[in-house]
């Protein structure tokens, strides 16, 4: 960002800086911003990690589930709640705004959850019936990713006018970002508070669901040893559906939180990069491990921000990929390492 060319007026941006000062000066602000991004990555990462834990499958199309969630939230605000897109913020007061956001989040979760279930039924179940190889699943996931993206890009505008297409949706902004308080010199805005709070609640609920409930035990059983689980009376098909459903619900919630942060981000390609980063986060924390996904997401968000401050804004994406590669090379099982199947998930 601050290029080391204070003595030069014409400054072709230096390629890589080592601007450690920038990092130290803005440390807490970067951390707070990083945590809010990390919360979004964490919620999406859970989807990847659960599906991998249960099915040993990387669900490439999960980023499109997230994207559909964004459109779902938008649709809810637009048609159901009646806000018109305008690019300016509405001001409804705290209570009402939270209510509207909650409704939009529920709707987004509904859309994403159903999309995830549909994806599982259409693309993956036939392959499971035919005992396909892992590469086949991967290819199908890639294919479905293409299909969903291009569907929103070209077909959706013909179904709902004004939706989809090559340009982003005109934003519907319910929350005007405003600093609520400062902590250690970092300003925390209302958007950040909403994101981190919702993410914490959802993460807690998911953790309880996986670790304390009966179907959560079923998920862990199938992840550990599906044959024995079936012998014990757990229905593998139902567990798989539930896994996809949970991933979809969380992706939908993350989608709404993302639109709070980046209102102009609702576009057919809006899920792709975020999906890859969320997957990196899942790997970073330990793929197959729920708490690992959450930790990995927060960590990735923060590291990305630091990296961007030190090396320059254009290197932000590189940081995510380099982290991914390093983790896979040095410790492929990730930080928390254990899989869903182990008792201490």
């Amino acid at each position: 960002m601050i290029h080391q060319c204070a003595d030069q007026v014409v400054c072709q941006a230096a390629n890589i800086n080592f601007n450690v000062d920038g990092l130290l000066n803005g440390f807490w602000q970067l951390t707070v911003d990083g945590l809010s991004w990390g919360a979004i990555y964490a919620l999406v990462a859970v989807g990847y990690t659960l599906v991998f834990g249960v099915l040993r499958l990387i669900n490439f199309a999960h980023s499109e589930i997230f994207m559909l969630g964004m459109f779902g939230a938008y649709f809810c605000l637009d048609y159901i709640l009646g806000f018109s897109p305008s690019g300016n913020a509405y001001n409804k007061g705290v209570g009402l705004t939270i209510l509207y956001l909650a409704i939009a989040m529920l709707f987004a979760m509904l859309v994403s959850g159903s999309a995830a279930l549909g994806l599982e039924a259409v693309a993956y179940r036939p392959l499971r019936r035919r005992n396909a190889r892992p590469l086949t699943f991967l290819i199908t996931a890639i294919g479905m990713s293409f299909v969903l993206q291009e569907f929103v890009h070209f077909i959706l505008p013909r179904i709902i006018p004004g939706y989809g297409g090559s340009n982003a949706q005109q934003p519907i902004i319910l929350v005007q970002p405003k600093t609520q308080f400062t902590i250690f010199g970092a300003s925390v805005s209302n958007v950040t508070i909403v994101i981190i709070a919702s993410a914490m609640v959802l993460a807690l609920l998911t953790d309880i669901a996986i670790n304390r409930t009966k179907f959560g035990r079923g998920i862990r059983a199938v992840a550990q040893d599906s044959t024995t689980a079936t012998l014990m009376g757990v229905s593998r098909e139902r567990i798989i559906m539930t896994t996809f459903l949970i991933g979809g619900l969380l992706a939908g919630a993350a989608a709404l939180l993302y639109t709070l942060k980046v209102p102009q981000g609702i576009i057919y390609s809006g899920g792709f990069l975020l999906g890859i980063k969320a997957f990196s986060a899942a790997v970073l924390g330990g793929i197959g491990n729920l708490r690992g996904a959450l930790l990995g997401g927060l960590l990735l968000g923060v590291m990305e921000n630091y990296g961007q401050a030190v090396f320059g804004t254009q290197w932000r994406d590189v940081v995510a990929f380099v982290l991914l590669v390093l983790v896979l090379l040095i410790r492929p099982t990730g930080i928390l390492g254990e899989s869903l199947g182990k008792a201490r998930a």
């Binding site: 007026v9 941006a13 806000f83 509207y100 509904l110 090559s166 902004i173 970002p177 981000g265």
Partner: protein
Amino acid sequence: MRSRMARSAFALASAGLLVVGIAGCSKQSTPEQDNTAQTNLKIVEQFPIGDNGAKLTPPDTSAAADPAGDGKATCPPLSIAMAGALTGADAALGINIKNGVQLAIDKHNKANPGCQVQLKPFDTEGDPQKATGIAPQIVDDPFTIGLVGPAFSGETKATGTVFDQAGLVATTASATNVALSENGWKTFFRGLGNDGAQGTAVANYLKNTLALKKVCVVDDSTDYGLGLATVVRTTLGATADSSCNIQVKKGDKDFSAAVTQLKGAAPEAIFYGGYYAEAAPLAQQLKDGGVTATFVSADGTKDPEFVKQGGEATKDALLSCPCSPAPADFAKEYTAAFGQEPGTYSTEGYDLGTIMLKGIDAGKITRPDLLEFVKTYDGQGIARKYQWTDKGELTTNLIWIYKVQ
């Protein structure tokens, strides 16, 4: 397990009903909000500026060349080609140009029954490799004696030699990369000011006419954005604060790091070299972050989407463009023919098509003749005066300033 599933399904369904119920109730209470949050902002032309940034009077477009001519022209069946991105993410630009040329040709054909010229559009999807495959198709057709295009600088870079070697006059309505005219192509003619001219003019406008003392320049690392921003930085000289030279990436939507830095630098204006998809969130995040500097940008941002997505935050933003505003009658004819308002570079497409039609009407029906005609052309179009240097650049550049208001 089954009952559990059923119960969850039931729970989900009732939640859904609840949602719709609340929505139904709340829907009645929102209609009056529509007006308060709507934006009525539009990009409105202000005035043209010269190379030194001084305000100029708009040119008189009443003497503009009319493609209809005198109605008595005769010619063998010929065609004019148009190459650009007609499909894909950047299609809007190519379609604008194509429509402009089409309008000129339709007017000409209607008025001159003895001379019917055809438009041959070629879709390059904005991809240089595709463009290298399409250029031979254009050149191969003996009836095609002129080309309007390619639309993007990348494609032009890849195909300029083809047209040069074939002697086919290639006028571009939108490729603004400065290096294009340095390749020695005899057939390259640029129908608008290049990024060098635009950058110089707008930088001088900020420095001299607006007498600003501190400007921050941000670019999006693309060929176009970086090129433009570099010219602006050089021309601004000391006015461009080197501590806030920022580079972002095309496709980014979150600019919190840049906003923090810009806030700290507190400039009077911020120049952004890039496209509307990033300019809109940047402008909004700047406003949310409490930065009060004037937002200045260029033709990549001059698109209705910028206002649509940025909302009130784009108010009072200044945009420069080598493209000229559409005169009222042209806009009317265009809308009647194509059902939408003329877009960026439609006027340039119309003018360049008109010039070639004038050549055909004057009896220049071979490629070398038409090339010579365009080379020595000197006339007024609806967008500007057209006369070219031997490198293919316009002799007089007209950069317009627009404002969001």
